[in-house]
């Protein structure tokens, strides 16, 4: 889906300098001896109707970011402006009406559904909580959405244990979409599924987006899944964005060495051995450093094949190199 008209460019989610630090307690007295910077100064906007993909290794802070945006976790600093309302410091009670417009789909379809509730109860619950509909209206809406995600109306009497992972994820999707939200955070919704099911669920999510005019924040740990569904893609490393660009630009012209390494790690079946396009694999060495004790300067420098002296001293800021294409790397900035 490409967005061209100015109308649709309206900003739905505006995240400003969001930070989430978890205190590290230690010693006998359980004093705070440091901070784990799960999300460290991230800013971005999501326009109405678009899908922003966020990619990062486990531990990069992408799930934390999603949860902070929805205020399932309290931000340490920064602002989230959703639908022109600053929700970052509203009390949980005041935020409740906003929850109608923002939803989340979790990674593990086995853990994210209460196994003691039937599918009907699960899907109906958001409507009950919002308390704006009569019983009849709720029933109609539940059947409508259940059929929309590809389950049968009869399935309402069933319990989660009677379904496979892919079907359970459909239930999660139905539960998230039943109140017709504007914005949905998809927290690795297909990572726990078989590859054959992944495509089905992704296609379903894409169809629903077109149908219901949804805006997605799509979190994943590999670039190939995100490619399918996103309009723009952000790459996250140790709690910060290292590159954010429209999909085309990112996949064809990745600027940050980390993005390049991630892209080269996508397996490609190349039958033509003489192919000129044959890419050299950029293998990253070492593990993700601990976010409790990140390297100085550019946090990626410990694993970066192109690191130089400056990287250890100065932290690179995100700069717009081309239209909408931001990168945080000293290779592209002047002294």
């Amino acid at each position: 889906m490409t967005l061209t008209t100015k109308d649709e460019q309206e900003i739905l989610v505006d995240v400003k300098n969001i930070k989430k630090y978890f205190p590290i307690k230690g010693g006998v007295l359980k004093r705070t001896i440091g901070h784990l910077k799960a999300v460290d100064d991230v800013s971005f906007t999501i326009r109405k109707g678009e899908t922003l993909g966020i990619v990062g290794e486990s531990g990069s802070g992408k799930s934390t970011l999603g949860r902070v945006i929805l205020r399932l976790l309290e931000p340490t600093d920064g602002q989230v402006i959703f639908n022109d309302v600053d929700i970052s410091y509203l009390s949980q009670r005041k935020i409740r009406p906003q929850r109608e417009d923002m939803q989340i789909i979790f990674q593990d379809p086995f853990a994210s559904l209460n196994s003691k509730m039937s599918v009907g109860q699960l899907v109906e619950e958001p409507l009950i909580v919002q308390g704006k509909m009569s019983k009849e209206e709720r029933k109609k809406r539940v059947i409508e959405i259940i059929e929309k995600v590809g389950l049968r109306a009869d399935d309402r009497q069933k319990y989660p244990h009677e379904f496979s992972g892919g079907q359970r994820q459909r239930i999660s999707i139905a539960r998230a979409l039943v109140i017709h939200p504007k914005f949905v955070i998809c927290d690795e919704p297909v990572s726990a599924l078989d590859v054959s099911i992944q495509a089905q669920v992704l296609n379903l999510m894409k169809d629903l987006q077109d149908d219901l005019g949804l805006t997605y924040l799509f979190i994943a740990h590999d670039l190939s899944v995100v490619k399918h569904i996103s309009d723009r893609v952000a790459v996250m490393y140790l709690g910060r964005f290292v590159e954010i660009a429209p999909k085309q630009a990112l996949y064809t012209n990745a600027l940050h060495p980390y993005t390049q390494a991630l892209l080269s790690s996508i397996p490609v079946i190349d039958l033509n051995e003489e192919s000129n396009h044959k890419q050299r694999k950029i293998a990253l060495t070492g593990d993700l450093p601990s976010p409790a004790n990140p390297p100085s300067g550019c946090t990626f420098r410990t694993r970066c094949p192109q690191a130089h002296d400056r990287c250890a001293i100065e932290r690179p800021e995100l700069i717009e190199l081309e239209t909408d294409h931001f990168v945080a790397c000293h290779l592209y900035s002047e002294e």
Partner: protein, 304 residues
């Protein structure tokens, strides 16, 4: 044998498209009803409860009325189990004693359960300072020697009624259940579906009652049941050493305390064996039920 039967049942049920969908609770009840030992426990306990309820119809004697002309009588057509040292009919005391023992066990369990549920839920759900405070309180109560504490309270109060007795048992035994509730709430707190409930804007009240309790109820019920058996034993033990419900109210415990006299122990076994067997059978039945519930709620622990 058992497993092959199970398999055929499952295959049949898949073939039937219109079969009724069972909730996890219904599945647990189904598993429970297949457990023969637990069923026996239910039946035995039911018979004992019936005996206790219909005691006035099963005997004409008043269990509290002493008849000093008929002391320590052997079994006769009028007094089937003879009479005790004050001339009260042993059979009537056995039936009415079941009332007291079961009432004490059940209400002490309910009382303990309500304290445990409330405190455990608060500690496990809110965590932090509340949790710390409640947990230190449980540590404190657990550190007190139960018998000494119970004896002291009872000795200070002088006269013991069933209400006081139940309260004493409850305030000394709530920590175990509180910890169990807290533990399961703590582990539930980290579950994604709870985060999901928050994401749809559910209130704390709704999250606790619709999401936490249904998922934590299994171990709570199992432990409460097994606790009831313990409480019946506590009642008997305290009554036996003379710190329980005082005479003339009959309990199984104070009937057995008659056996402290060598003469009765030796020559009148009909006076103390029936209440002893009553306690044994009741506690066994409850424990079978508790084990059955454990297997029913947690299929992974199935040992058959």
């Amino acid at each position: 044998m058992q497993t092959s039967q199970n398999n055929t049942i499952q295959i049949e049920s898949i073939d039937q498209p219109d079969r009724k969908h069972r909730s996890p609770l219904q599945l647990s009840v189904h598993r429970f009803l297949k457990n023969k030992l637990a069923l026996v426990g239910i039946i035995v306990l039911f018979v004992i409860i019936l005996g206790a309820i219909f005691a006035p119809y099963l005997t004409d004697h008043d269990p509290r009325k002493s008849n000093l002309m008929l002391v320590e009588q052997g079994p006769s057509s009028d007094n089937i189990l003879g009479t005790d040292a004050s001339g009260r009919d042993n059979f009537a005391r056995l039936l009415y004693g079941a009332r007291v023992s079961l009432t004490v066990g059940f209400s002490a369990m309910l009382f303990t359960l309500s304290i445990g549920l409330v405190l455990g839920a608060l500690a496990g759900y809110y965590g932090g300072k509340i949790d710390n405070f409640i947990m230190r309180l449980t540590d404190l109560v657990l550190a007190l020697p139960f018998l000494v504490l119970a004896l002291t309270i009872i000795a200070l109060l002088g006269k013991v009624t069933i209400g006081i007795f139940v309260t004493v048992i409850a305030i000394t035994s709530w920590p175990t259940l509180t910890r169990i509730v807290r533990g399961s709430f703590l582990s539930l707190r980290e579950q994604e579906f709870v985060l999901g409930a928050r994401a749809i804007g559910a209130s704390d009240f709704r999250i606790i009652f619709r999401h936490f309790i249904p998922n934590a109820i299994g171990p709570i019920i199992v432990n409460a049941t097994l606790m009831m058996a313990t409480m019946i034993i506590i009642e008997s033990a305290l009554s036996f050493i003379g710190f329980g419900i005082p005479q003339p109210t009959p309990t199984w415990g104070n009937m057995i305390s008659e056996a402290q006299s060598i003469r009765i122990l030796r020559y009148h076994p009909e006076a103390w064996i029936p209440p002893g067997v009553g306690i044994l059978v009741t506690v066994l039945a409850i424990n079978f039920i508790g084990d059955g519930l454990r297997d029913a709620f947690d299929p992974k622990s199935d040992r058959r």
